[in-house]
Symmetry: C2
Subunit: 344 residues, 2 copies
């Protein structure tokens, strides 16, 4: 005895045409996160809520997404909050910081820790509602033209690396270089730089870095699961019907899972091709990781002093992360390690 | 210049009241996956599409969810497909098999491998549309009243373990016992059984197994990321408006991520409490894992011979999994291992 379906007498849902600005060109895999998000919203509303996605620079500057959403120039954005580190270092905690949480840990912190509340409260001050909407997973440590056998080998190395990773690796002797994605290949080729980090096997191979550098290092400890965010102008979000608010959040979750799956499916295919065509896979030696970790702790101590927003959110995150690492090493880590060892 | 919102002239969405049968009591954490799913659908439709969740046995028998959804007794279910292994061994591949994929790998296979197509095609024959809607992550290897130092220590051990894990561990000398969740504690206490596996720290501590067994083993290689599924009666799903179809799928994704986050947040808290109150955490020795892995391969070889559905899906899964394990060991695994070692 099912209830007989009745037509709803309640409000019809509005037709909306919104614009979403991204920070990247469509050639970078994580542009797809924005596309997936928009498609999911459209699908869940049968086309009533349409979102047009614009590539980085098309509508607003690539790193102008934050301001454009904040002031309502566009209704939505898809970007990485750590691009806006210069405005407030705490924004980086919505993406990742060196030795930060991995993909799953970030979701756990967002959904069952204080992550969602802390991050959304911070962004509310800028009139933005952020939701997780994509992740690359742990990135690679980048391309090097010579082997790194200890911290000493980093001394004077000119490396294309930005953000907090750059600030921290500088303490190990690296000279960080600011080089746009499109200029990395020629800079490595000409020897203007000795090393460059980008994303992971799939995106890196597209840009051909394997043709101009021999050694591919792991892991990218400065990007241990960077979270991409959907931004919605807060006034516009608050004015949406409740159905649309829930649909926007769910579409972000769909995009988040989808992007992680996409990278997971594509990265090993690219990695195998890289290795079979001569790329030499190397792991950063333990002393490099330890020195970088120590340098990162110094930086966090400084930021906790100078920035109360950073202190509030970072302290909460680190406490949560510590428990996550304990648990990850017990069941998940042991099973994964066994599977990696046996299925070679 | 925003487009002016217009009221949609198109169809109003129907009011629906559906029923969802689960296989578990509300005391088991993964019952919450069904609740989250129902709440998300309701939220995205502002209450027009209501789903009432029933505990295991309340409406149909706990393991009658498959049949009830298949024949339309209920519109929806939330269950684990490996419970229906007896109908068709291939159903287990929608949940997990021993040494199967972890949470993230399963999502990647579902979204960017052939997982979704293969599994949904299989279930279509039974008039069911399944979506991933929850995961426990890698489970623990269970509670033992003595140490397991090698395969020899398993000989004659009476262990509460079901499903394919039971069939496989039997080849190592264990005598699998079928014991309902509620009877595990008294059975361990009386010594009727020597060991029992259940889920992980959070659920296990609730049932007090730490009071009647000293050794807690890891990892639960027979459950390396079991996927819980939402089932929808296929005729009823196909008759839904396209918005509701998309919303149902997105709500399942929300439940999937939410359950994983919930377990990740709660398990380390419980684990610390267990260890601080005397539980001895132990890892299965390598020879046990290797013998179990070899026994599992035998079982898969038999199933590939006897069951074409199993062969089709298993072969695809294993091929995908092999690439995933390769990649997981390169960036993710190295970063995770370092973090686990440094944040102790």
């Amino acid at each position: 005895a099912m209830a007989v379906p009745a037509m709803a007498a309640s409000h019809a849902l509005p037709e909306l045409n919104w614009r979403l600005a991204t920070s990247v060109p469509p050639t970078i895999e994580f542009y797809e996160g924005a596309v997936t998000f928009a498609e999911e919203v459209e699908r869940m509303t049968d086309g009533k809520f349409k979102i047009r996605v614009f590539a980085g620079g098309e509508l607003v500057p690539a790193f102008g997404v934050f301001d454009a959403v904040s002031d309502g120039t566009v209704e939505m954005g898809h970007t990485a909050s750590y691009y806006y580190f210069g405005k407030n270092e705490a924004y980086a905690l919505d993406t990742t910081v060196p030795f930060g949480m991995n993909y799953r840990q970030f979701q756990a912190w967002w959904n069952y820790g204080n992550g969602k509340t802390l991050i959304q409260d911070l962004f509310a001050k800028a009139n933005i509602v952020p939701f997780p909407a994509g992740n690359t997973g742990v990135q690679m440590g980048g391309w090097f033209n010579k082997e790194v056998k200890s911290v000493a080998d980093l001394d004077g190395l000119k490396m294309r690396i930005g953000g907090m990773g750059g600030k921290i690796i500088q303490k190990l002797g690296v000279v960080p270089q600011s080089v746009p994605g499109a200029d990395i290949y020629p800079s490595l080729e000409k020897g203007t730089i000795d090393a460059a980090e980008w994303i992971g096997p799939h995106d890196d191979m597209k840009l051909g870095f394997n043709q101009v550098a021999s050694y591919y290092y792991t892991p990218g400890w400065w990007e241990a699961g960077p979270n991409l965010s959907v931004y919605i102008n807060k006034e516009k979000f608050d004015a949406l019907p409740v159905e649309y608010q829930a649909i926007v959040e769910a579409a972000a979750t769909r995009a988040n899972v989808d992007m992680m799956s996409s990278y997971d499916a594509k990265n090993p295919v690219a990695l195998k091709k890289l290795i079979s065509t001569g790329t030499k896979l190397r792991a950063f030696p333990r002393d490099v990781l330890e020195a970088a970790y120590a340098a990162a702790q110094e930086t966090y101590a400084e930021l906790r002093e100078s920035n109360p927003d950073f202190k509030l959110i970072y302290d909460d995150m680190v406490k949560f992360q510590k428990d996550q690492n304990l648990w990850a090493g017990v069941a998940e880590g042991r099973q994964d390690a066994f599977m990696q060892s046996i299925s070679r």
